[in-house]
């Protein structure tokens, strides 16, 4: 009666039971071949499978998926990602080259000879940890600067943890006279380049007796207006209901702060910590001006000076310099993305 293959699902996805054995409607002594196809399980497919099953249709299907996935966007993203990561990857790669090889290689720079190229090295003749050995064990000078930088970072973070969330809380969840003016001033300070207040800062620090001590870096770092701004913008976005619910239960300002606001701020606190430590790790201007004493300088200032002396270990130095930031980034990446997304920066 019907040509329709019985196992083929209909448009609604039902499977018609296959006819097995002689068809009662065709009782003319001519028995149709029994349908050999096994019964497929009940799968609900909306779209019938393509009729042609050649390589061409498979190709077409692949192309459709590919277009759906936007190949040009992906290709562009890949290209940019490679460009962004290349400097980091090569720094780490070259840090495993033997010292001699690096010295020779760097010596080939600045040949202003239009017939010669600087080869791109992809693999060392022998993988060597010699550069790291020199930096970490033979010459303690690098390690000392590394420790200095870490100390500044840790001290600033510790101070910021105590001060910045409280200030942001005061600026965001309270109403009082002059609050907007105060916030306006914080914003203005955030945008001013360091150099604007450089000379008066030096005199202030001198008056306080802090110039040329580690505190000259740490104290202004703690009160950095940017992080007050960042946290304030996040706290402003916390729904009032959460706070009111706490108030109903009798929570005061302190209890609300510790048990409601801070837990909600988890992502932005992580983001701020990561960014702040990165800032400190990258500090150049302040130490140049505030510190005359070489013993107190952080790695960021001295890094290139050491490199001039020991070019052979430059890559291992750079790799060690990058490594903490890389780890911090990997640990805090979700916080940074979420923190920016949820705060009122947008």
């Amino acid at each position: 009666m019907t040509d329709m293959k019985p196992t083929q699902p209909t448009a609604r996805g039902e499977v018609i039971a296959p006819v097995i054995g002689p068809d009662p409607t065709l009782a003319y002594g001519f028995t149709p071949e029994p349908v050999r196809q096994p019964v497929k399980p009940l799968i609900f497919i909306d779209r019938p499978e393509p009729k042609r099953r050649g390589p061409l249709s498979r190709l077409r299907r692949h192309l459709r998926t590919l277009r759906h996935n936007r190949p040009f966007t992906i290709a562009l993203f890949c290209l940019i990602a490679v460009l962004m990561l290349t400097p980091i990857v090569f720094t780490f790669l070259y840090s495993f080259f033997p010292k001699g090889e690096i010295t020779t290689y760097l010596g080939l720079r600045n040949r202003y000879d239009a017939t010669k190229w600087l080869d791109v090295l992809f693999a060392p003749s022998v993988v060597s940890l010699r550069q790291y050995y020199t930096i970490l064990i033979e010459e303690p000078q690098y390690l000392k600067l590394f420790v200095n930088s870490a100390m500044y970072g840790a001290a600033i973070l510790l101070g910021q943890t105590l001060v910045v969330p409280m200030t942001a809380y005061g600026l965001s969840r309270f109403t009082f006279k002059g609050r907007d003016t105060l916030f306006f001033l914080v914003l203005m300070l955030m945008l001013l380049p360091f150099q604007v207040t450089m000379a008066p800062s030096v005199m202030t620090l001198r008056a306080l007796g802090l110039l040329n001590t580690a505190w000259a870096i740490i104290l202004p770092g703690i009160f950095s207006p940017f992080y007050i701004f960042l946290l304030r913008q996040f706290m402003v976005g916390i729904p009032g209901e959460i706070i009111e619910a706490g108030q109903m239960d009798g929570a005061g300002t302190m209890r609300t702060f510790v048990h409601v606001v801070l837990p909600v701020c988890r992502p932005i606190l992580g983001a701020a910590a990561a960014l702040s430590f990165a800032d400190c790790w990258n500090l150049v201007e302040q130490p140049l001006v505030y510190l005359q004493n070489v013993d107190l300088q952080p790695l960021s200032v001295m890094f290139n000076k050491i490199n001039e002396e020991g070019q052979a270990v430059a890559f291992a130095g750079a790799a060690l310099y990058l490594l903490p930031m890389l780890l911090i980034y990997i640990y805090f990446q979700d916080d940074i993305l979420l923190g920016v997304q949820l705060s009122e920066l947008k």
């Binding site: 993203f77 940019i80 040949r111 190229w117 600087l118 009082f176 380049p193 997304q341 009122e344 947008k346």
Partner: protein, 285 residues
């Protein structure tokens, strides 16, 4: 929201004290400082310092370079981050990895990149290979005006990701139905970006632009890393002028130069403050 609570000052006190000591006092002290002559009597001289500094050729060179460098960086970062964020609005395979690759350099110290940058921009380096492959002559990247290119690229490499992330967050708040409607009407990619996305994210766009501008004034770090304390004339920034004057203990000149510069920054900031981007938070609070 807590109103009429005196306890607020308990929360604000430590932070404000610090801001007062290390930021507000130096700032306003500096204003007064730039109006006096710096001798022992410290006479009030009005705007004489400003007139002197503005006529100084090195100051003019520094100001010109700083403005030019930031005018080079800010629009590039703005346009690139807008386009990339638009592309990232819809999810594709591997976009998480891509976002991380973009944002990671934001945390990387510029100084550590110096050595690899010098290799890339060497006369026989990778960048010149690309230049020759495109059919041009090799360029002396590390000298003269061309030195700006590696510096600006280092700056963009480091700072692009953060703008992209801010933009992406704003773009994800734009309702999808607008795009569907525009697609029905036959608007192409660029048309959609400029007729729908840009107006919708205008406050953010302005914030990103101003932040890019103001941060680009801080490009000194990258210049210092590549060019050193006394760099080529083409990248001698205002900060170099101030640092070098500072080394000569010429505080009056430093502050005067600084405040001339601050005026530019503050004007930009006031423009930004007038936009909703910052104020919407206040009305909500």
């Amino acid at each position: 929201m807590f109103t009429r609570k005196k306890t607020v000052w308990l929360y604000l006190a430590p932070g404000l004290l610090g801001l007062l000591a290390f930021y507000f006092v130096p700032f306003f002290w500096g204003v007064w400082f730039s109006l006096t002559d710096g001798t022992i009597d410290n006479k009030f001289v009005g705007f004489q310092n400003y007139l002197d500094v503005w006529q100084n050729e090195i100051f003019q060179l520094g100001l010109k370079n700083t403005l030019e460098l930031s005018l080079l960086c800010a629009p590039v970062i703005f346009v690139l981050s807008f386009l990339l964020a638009s592309l990232m609005r819809k999810r594709v395979a591997g976009d998480g990895f891509f976002r991380n690759a973009l944002l990671m350099p934001y945390l990387m110290p510029s100084a550590a990149m110096l050595i690899i940058w010098l290799l890339m921009f060497d006369y026989g380096g990778v960048v010149n290979r690309v230049v020759v492959a495109l059919g041009f002559e090799r360029v002396f990247w590390l000298e003269g005006g061309a030195l700006r290119v590696p510096i600006v690229l280092l700056y963009i490499w480091k700072n692009l990701g953060f703008s992209v992330v801010i933009f992406t967050a704003a773009l994800q708040a734009v309702p999808e139905s607008l795009y569907e409607y525009a697609a029905l009407e036959g608007a192409g990619f660029f048309r959609r970006q400029f007729s729908i996305t840009l107006p919708q994210v205008l406050p953010t766009a302005f914030l990103v632009l101003v932040l890019a501008m103001v941060n680009a004034f801080k490009i000194f770090k990258e210049v210092y890393v590549i060019g050193g304390a006394y760099p080529e004339e083409s990248v001698y920034t205002l900060q170099h002028y101030m640092n070098n004057k500072f080394a000569k203990l010429d505080y009056q000149d430093v502050t005067t130069a600084a405040y001339s510069f601050a005026v530019i920054v503050i004007v930009l900031f006031l423009l930004m403050y007038r936009t909703k981007a910052v104020r919407q938070g206040e009305s909500a609070a």
